[in-house]
């Protein structure tokens, strides 16, 4: 059966004394009845990728939850250290593979921070347009995944219908459906094809018509959805900030922090949009925040299409790309939260050190603090609240 070495390794993960390993109290009820140790994952329909939760259950109540990660760890930071600066961009697509455009944008901002290149305004507008389309293509399926984990099989199909249509737009502009490699250091790879703006306009009008019926009427007032998500994974703003949450999970607790407005980058200061916050801080609040953010993204896309200036799409870079020595920072509001890149360059044409701050990685700490005390089926909506992507937390 299991090879001796694998069995020892499995045992060691489980047998460490529960109390010592985690802050959660060691629950033995008055009859001294033991809790069940259960491993949920790494292959599990609701784990948003490869994640293994070692759970200690008292009946159906979770006493301790210890995520085991690393199943999709490719050590991207080590690979990036051995590649030229532009060759790292296809790597960043594979980080948070549900918000590829935002990863590219974050990395490119970090490199441009150390490189005095002037990015033409049209390239900035195209970048923001693509990023907001990507936010739509990531928020809508995340609502679909939340409903799938609650047991409803239909919303995920409607969500992926929207994502497929956005992906055909991406394929026409960048050439690929997911791994775009489109945003380059100094601008974007190529200009928008002539028929694309009109195609995006038609898609946005169609989406607005369908959005209310498919994603709001079907879900928002559904009594079972309300009873399964209201009060589940409840957090205060204080606790969320302490745990380092960013993005929709933080905004649903009432803290209005959005990098597009507080740490403005690219041309977001020229566009108006408002930052959505909610007060409840539970799963239902995160659903409402994501729905409202989709409408904000639609508003932003329209503004980008109206104000799109003419001109070149690529700044003029030198023959060899050698950023100044020192630290380069790039911070972007990805659909899951703050995606930051810290590049340490030593003047050569390969980065000395690249460090990605992935929102899924930081939001996942919620599992250790908030899950104990909930029921087993509540783990699923809490995963929906965070909506992590395994490429993100495993890097």
């Amino acid at each position: 059966m299991l090879s001796e070495e694998r069995r020892v390794e499995q045992q060691s993960a489980l047998t460490q004394p529960a109390a010592g390993r985690l802050a959660a109290p060691d629950v033995r009820d008055e009859f001294g009845l033991e809790t069940i140790d259960m491993s949920m994952g790494p292959q599990h329909p609701a784990m948003h990728g490869l994640l293994r939760l070692i759970l200690e259950l008292d009946g159906e109540t979770v006493v301790r939850c210890d995520p085991v990660m690393g199943y999709l760890h490719r050590c991207q930071e080590k690979i990036a250290e051995n590649r030229m600066y532009p060759a790292v961009i296809p790597l960043t697509d594979r980080l948070d593979y549900f918000a590829n455009m935002h990863n590219e944008h974050g990395y490119v901002l970090a490199v441009e921070d150390q490189l005095d290149v002037e990015i033409p305004p049209r390239a900035e507008y195209i970048r923001v347009l693509m990023c907001e389309l990507m936010r739509l293509a990531s928020h809508i399926p995340s609502i679909g995944f939340l409903m799938l984990e609650l047991g409803a099989f239909t919303p995920i199909l409607y969500a992926f219908r929207e994502r497929e249509r956005i992906q055909t737009i991406f394929e026409a502009v960048t050439g690929a459906r997911m791994m775009f490699h489109y945003i380059r250091i100094g601008g974007v790879k190529a200009d928008l094809p002539p028929d694309i703006p009109q195609q995006i306009w038609d898609y946005i009008e169609g989406l607005e018509a369908r959005f209310q019926s498919d994603f709001v009427d079907l879900i928002q007032d559904n009594e079972i959805f309300i009873s399964r998500t209201r009060g589940v994974g409840k957090m205060t703003g204080e606790k969320a900030l302490e745990m380092g949450l960013t993005g929709p999970p933080l905004r649903c607790t009432g803290v209005d922090f959005d990098i597009r407005r507080d740490y403005p980058y690219s041309i977001y200061p020229e566009l108006e949009f408002d930052v959505i916050t909610d007060t409840a801080g539970d799963v239902e609040a995160s659903y409402r925040v994501r729905i409202a953010e989709c409408l904000q993204s639609i508003r932003l896309i329209k503004q980008c299409l109206e104000k799109m200036p003419e001109g070149a799409v690529m700044g003029d870079l030198g023959r060899r790309l050698r950023p100044k020595e020192g630290d380069g920072f790039g911070r972007v509001e990805s659909p899951r939260g703050e995606f930051a890149v810290h590049i340490v360059s030593d003047g050569s044409d390969t980065p000395y050190r690249v460090h990605y701050r992935d929102p899924s990685f930081c939001n996942m700490q919620l599992l250790q603090e908030v899950v104990p005390g909930h029921y087993l089926p509540d783990i699923m909506p809490i995963m929906g609240l965070i909506d992590p992507v395994s490429g993100g937390w495993d890097k």
Binding site: P45, E60, G151, T154, I224
Partner: protein, 336 residues
């Protein structure tokens, strides 16, 4: 030749032959329902569903059955063999047995017991045993959780199921299903679902819970415990559990049609088809089965404590209140 026919007419042999026919019909019903389920879910989700095997996908059930026959029955290492293999049988027999009591048309009833409803209630309570056997027998945490959930759910939803039958029994005064249908008259406003509307809804919801379908499919919680008590089954054993699921789903809709929607009675008097009245029974049952599937593809799943609250704190009080209302109405309105 005549003696052979008389022999066949003799009571024990007729019963076995008709049970064989019923078994054949129920297995076909299960196969067709899997196909109907996949087509209905596909059309709701804006896709086509199986349309490759046979003309427009009609041979898909045959392909499924053939696959399940040839698939290997994997039994987990530590499983308790007898309990593990006995569970599908313990789940399928009740679902098939109760079909003998269901009146398709006045004379097409296998066994017109005068305690038909009591027989239905007694046999469906065996289903909980099958779930616990499956969950406990496969010796894995997921299936154990599924089994415990299944047992708690099925046993606690039998109470509203039975209470909602009492109203119908009080109105007809007899336990035999054929009498219940005859007492309902052949126009839809004389059917029992109008005077007994809350009872009908409770029976429908409790039926959904008995059959473990969304929003009550916690024993098989797809996204939580990955298949619950069914997780360790594959091949023919899994197929038998699925057949039991679909047979009991068809059974629940057939019984609710018999009790509340006037069995084989036509909705309007002039639509009476005489000997072909079982067509009405078929139409009404498939309508109810379609609503089962329609609910399955548009609602999420309840949590265990909410499931229990709904059962005990909502459905049981409704049925008790409506029993008094029915009793009062029967006293006040003479000749009802």
């Amino acid at each position: 030749m005549q003696t052979v026919l008389n022999l066949l007419e003799a009571e024990p042999i007729r019963l076995f032959l008709s049970f064989g026919v019923i078994l054949f019909l129920v297995l076909n019903l299960a196969a067709i329902l899997t196909m109907a389920e996949r087509k209905a879910s596909a059309y709701i989700q804006l896709r086509y569903g199986p349309n490759r095997v046979g003309p427009r996908g009609l041979l898909q059930p045959a392909a499924d059955v053939f696959k399940l026959f040839t698939k290997e029955n994997v039994t987990p290492g530590r499983a308790d063999l007898w309990v593990f293999l006995g569970a599908p049988i313990a789940m399928f027999i009740p679902a098939a047995l109760v079909w003998m009591v269901v009146p398709f048309s006045p004379d097409a009833v296998v066994a017109d017991l005068n305690v038909g409803i009591l027989f239905f209630v007694a046999i469906t309570s065996i289903g909980a045993l099958g779930v616990v056997m499956a969950g406990y027998g496969s010796r894995s945490t997921f299936s154990l959780l599924g089994a415990l959930r299944g047992a708690a759910q099925i046993i606690s939803y039998e109470v509203p199921l039975i209470l909602s039958l009492l109203g119908v029994i009080m109105l007809t005064g007899s336990l035999s299903l054929v009498d219940v249908v005859n007492a309902q008259g052949d126009a839809f406003w004389t059917w029992y679902f109008l005077p007994q509307l809350p009872m009908f809804l409770t029976f429908y919801i409790a039926g959904l819970a008995e059959v473990k379908r969304v929003p009550f499919d916690l024993p098989e919680g797809e996204s939580e415990i990955v298949g619950g008590f069914m997780v360790e089954y594959s091949g023919m054993t899994w197929a038998l559990i699925q057949a039991a699921e679909f047979a009991s789903m068809g059974l629940m809709s057939a019984v609710s049609v018999t009790l509340f929607l006037g069995g084989w009675q036509p909705p309007l008097p002039f639509l009476d088809l005489g000997p072909f009245n079982w067509v009405w029974f078929g139409l009404k049952t498939s309508l109810i089965m379609f609503t089962f599937q329609w609910i399955r593809w548009s609602l999420p799943r309840l949590r265990m404590d909410q499931l229990m609250d709904l059962g005990w704190k909502v459905l049981v009080p409704i049925t008790l209140v409506w029993l008094f209302v029915t009793a009062g109405a029967m006293l006040i309105i003479p000749g009802n």
